[in-house]
Every structure is written in structure tokens, then in C-alpha cells.
Amino acid sequence: MKILVCISNVPDTTTKIKFKEGNKQIDDAGIQWIINPWDELALTRAIELKEDASNPIDEVCVINVGEAMCDATLRKALAIGADKAIRIDANPLDAYFVAGQIADYIKKTPYDIVLSGIESSDYNSSSVGGMLGEFLDWPAISSMTQLGFDGDELNIHRAIPGGNQILQLTPPFVGIVQKGIAKEPRIPAMRGIMMARKKPLEVLPAIELKALSQIVEFEQPQAKASCKMIDAEQLDELIHLLKSEAKVL
């Protein structure tokens, strides 16, 4: 069985986002780029599954749609333990464009399980996984919190509001992973970093595909008015203000 993990290249989560050229573009000066945190958890789980020899996993591959700057992030994925990496060489215009490129690759190079994070920490659209499911006409498991094997059968949990569902299905499918899928993302070890240099990172041309949407402008949130401090000995004042001034109680 082969697993493909979709990787989005995003600014480190501690980044303070700034824009340039009249709020038309992200100011990337000083930004550290990382694997999208949910994609990193998906990759970690895929590698854990492969490492356990009792599971029928032969290969873990990562894929990204992006320009050459993404190679460093893909090398990190290889250092963590992916067997190979694919980069489709294009500016990722919108989620539809990205999913269409990845789906085209999967149609030519079949995989059994495709994983993607539930959202990317940059554009928060939660779209690529579901779109892949539709492009491929596969089921897609939203909010997947567990993926394992029970003998030959897959053991899959999905979070639903107020609980969990345990699902029965057979590959191929898209798993859209939520926190919980792996305990902690794996940090690359020195040996992994050395090995990553020898692993294949294949760059493929993009197919012709029109994006359906575009970002025309960014905006910074407005600074909040100053915080009203309440004495810890006069807490009834706080409750009173929440009722009468903020009107939220």
C-alpha cells in the first residue's frame, strides 16, 4: 500500500504577518517557512504506520504544488522520514488549482491513501482534501483523528461535533486529518537529514488548469482599544460591566 501526503508550505506559526505593494502581497522578508502543522501530523502518522512492519505500507511520498522555495520544506519532510518527494512546479493560485494538479498526478501514479491536513495555517480554506476526493471520485474522511490497521482492516476515527465516529471503508480514500492523528510532529534527526540528501525530489511541470478565485487584497486587523483593568478585590464590578457595558452576559 502506498501513502501520499499533501504538503503545504506556510509561514512559521509565530510569524507576524505583514504585507507589501499596497497590501497586495505578503512581505516574505524574514519569514521562516515550515510544513503546515496539520500536514506535518499527517506525515508523522504515515511514517509511524510504515515503520511498524506488521502494517502493509510500502511507501510514503510527499507532494507539494509550489515554486522552488518549497524545496527546503520538502527536504525537511524527507528528513522526517518520507521516502520521496514530488513538487509540481507552479505558483499555487488557489485551492482548486492545487487540488487539480495533485489529482492529475495521482491519476497517473496511483496511491491507496492520500492524506492532507484539515486546513493550512495560511489561507484557512480547508479545501484541498475535499476537492481531491471529488476530482478522484473517492470518499474523503473529514476530521480524521485516528488511522491504523486492525489486521488487514483499517481502523479509522473521525471527529464529529460532540464525539467520534468509527468508520469502515476500503482504500482508495482521502483522509483529511485533524489534531490527534499523531501525538507530536516528528523532529528530523541528524541521520534523517543526511539521508534526505540522497532521497529523490522530483520536480514536475504543472498541467493547464484555470484557477477559480484569486486574492485581490489583504488587510491587517485593527488594533484593539485598551484593556480595562479591574481590581481583583472588586470582581462584582467585572460581572457588572460584562452585563451592562459589553452586554455579553
Binding site: 506559526t13 509565530t14 507576524k16 504577518i17 504585507f19 488557489d94 485551492a95 482548486y96 489561507y123 484557512n124 480554506s125 479545501s127 484541498v128 482534501g129 475535499g130 476537492m131 476526493g133 471529488e134 476530482f135 474523503a140 474522511i141 473529514s142 476530521s143 471527529a159 464529529i160 461535533p161 460532540g162 467520534n164 465516529q165 468509527i166 468508520l167 469502515q168 471503508l169 483529511i176 489534531k179 477559480l212 478565485s213 484569486q214 486574492i215 485581490v216 487584497e217 489583504f218 488587510e219 491587517q220 486587523p221 484593539k224 484593556c227 480595562k228 483593568m229 479591574i230 481590581d231 481583583a232 470582581l235 462584582d236 467585572l238 457588572h240 460584562l242 459589553a246 455579553v248 452576559l249
Partner: protein
Amino acid sequence: MSVIAFAKNWEGKFKKSTYELVSYAKDLASRLNTQTLVLSIGEVDESELEKLALYGADRIISVNDSRLNVLSSRIYAEVISQFVRKEFATHILLSDNNSGKAISPRLSVKLQAGLAAAVLDVPKSLEPFVVKKQVFSGKAFAYVQIDSEKKILTLSKNSFGVKENPSTAAIEYFTPELKEDLFKIKVKSEESSDNKIILTDADIVVSAGRGMKSPDNWKPVEDFAAALGAAVACSRPVSDDGWRSHEEHVGQTGKVIAPNLYFAVGISGAIQHVAGVSRSKCIVAINTDPEAPIFSVADYGVVGDAMTVLPKLTEIVLNGE
């Protein structure tokens, strides 16, 4: 041209977020000078369906099929797209919750319709069609232009509000054609968590962090939340260390929430945490450190120890000031 809102039900009942979506759909339809169609999937009583008219539905359409009581994004997207094609609808609206997030990407591919997710406001312009959405988990906003003829939006909670606009819509029924192989995913069993109040739905959230010092100190947090009818949440370090479940983690990589009132207790206010809660209408920070960054994003602040402040607040709430 018409506007379709997908009205999700939970065990046959609609929620505030459903009514907010219908209110938004009505507003958009008025701007476009067209009708508001509201589509419900799964078994829902007519008395419940009728409530949708209160918020401006011109037509209420029910797909009253018991096989569709459990959400399947694949099947729901198929049902909605068949209905969209039948009605030649142009604008398709869903709530930005679990179901909306699961259905809308599939719908986008089926209909070749551009998707703007987590929309925060009415369109900035209709021609071209531009909407404001959250990006970088609330650290910034983006204006997204949808270039396709059909357009899909998912609406963020508490971004438009519930607005009454009574109409006299009759209830219609729609029967889609569904192939058997769509029902491929089987639910073996279901577990429900102990949390009675769903975090992403809650109007009030009490959230605590490392400042609580030990997982054994959560009782005052839970008591205060119970007194307010609030959901309990936590910061990332607390869930990473296993003090609390991942389900309670709010922040950039956890749940992004927008309650009316958010209490940040013993939470310093790292940028990733603030990103996940910045859309809260009112933030109250309780922290021993007066320099904690959380105070710069809070509306009200108390410098003090949560272990003494929370029990006092609980008492005040329970005794009605």
C-alpha cells in the same frame, strides 16, 4: 440566478448558525434582486422547516430521506449540486462548520464554482464578486475575488448575525437521484464525548492555560464554566502535555472560535493563541503577570491568581451579583 443556502440540521433541529446563514442568504439575494432558496437534507419535521421562513427563505426545499440523516460529504455534495443545476442557482452558501467545510470543496469541483471559505462580511462588490475572509487564522484578512459564474461561500459564525425577515414560504420536496455506490462509507459505531456544550457553538468559553500550574487545578475552571453555561477550552501547551484533551485546544493549530465572551485564564497570550480567539466579541484576561501579552488583546483584565479569582467569580455569578 438565485441564492441557495444549505440548512444543516442536528438530529432534526436547526441551530442559530443555520438562521444566521439564512439571514445572510436573504441579504445577498436582495442585493442580487433574486430569490432565497433554503435546502434541508435529511429528515426534518415541517414545524422545524417552517422556522426558516422567519429569516427570509422565499422557498424551503426538503430532501426528506432517512438515508441522509447522517452527514456524508460526498452524498450531500451530490444532492446539493443536483438541486443547484435544476434551479440554475448561482450563489451557494454553507455555514463554516464541520459539515460546510466537508461539503463545500466537493461542491466546488462538481460545479466548477470558486469557493471562498470562512467569509466574514457581506460582499465588498458584486461585479466582480469580492468577499472578505479570514487568513492566517485571524492574524489578517483577505479579499477574495471569485471569477467563476457559480460561487460558493462558507460563512463564519457570528459574522453577520441572525436577522428576522418573515416570509410566507411553502415547503417543497426534492428527490435527488443517488447511486448506491455513494453509500460506501459505513459508520461502525459512535462515541460521544462528555462535553455537553460544543466548543465551536458556545456563546461563552472559559479557557485556561499553563498558569493553572497543574492538571489537578481545573475544578475552579469547570465550576466557573458550569455557572455561566460556558464551554471549557485550553491553550496549546496544556493539551500538548496531556493535561486536557486535544478537543479543548483553541488557537491557530487547534480550534478557531468566535464566542460572544472569552475568558483567558492563566494564558499568556502567544500570537498563535490569540489568532484562534481574536474574533471573540469580548475577551477577559485573568493573569498573575500584569505584563502578559494577553492584556493587549483583552477588553477587560484582572491581575490575580486564578485559584482565588475564579471561585469568587463563580460565587458572584451564582448569587446573581
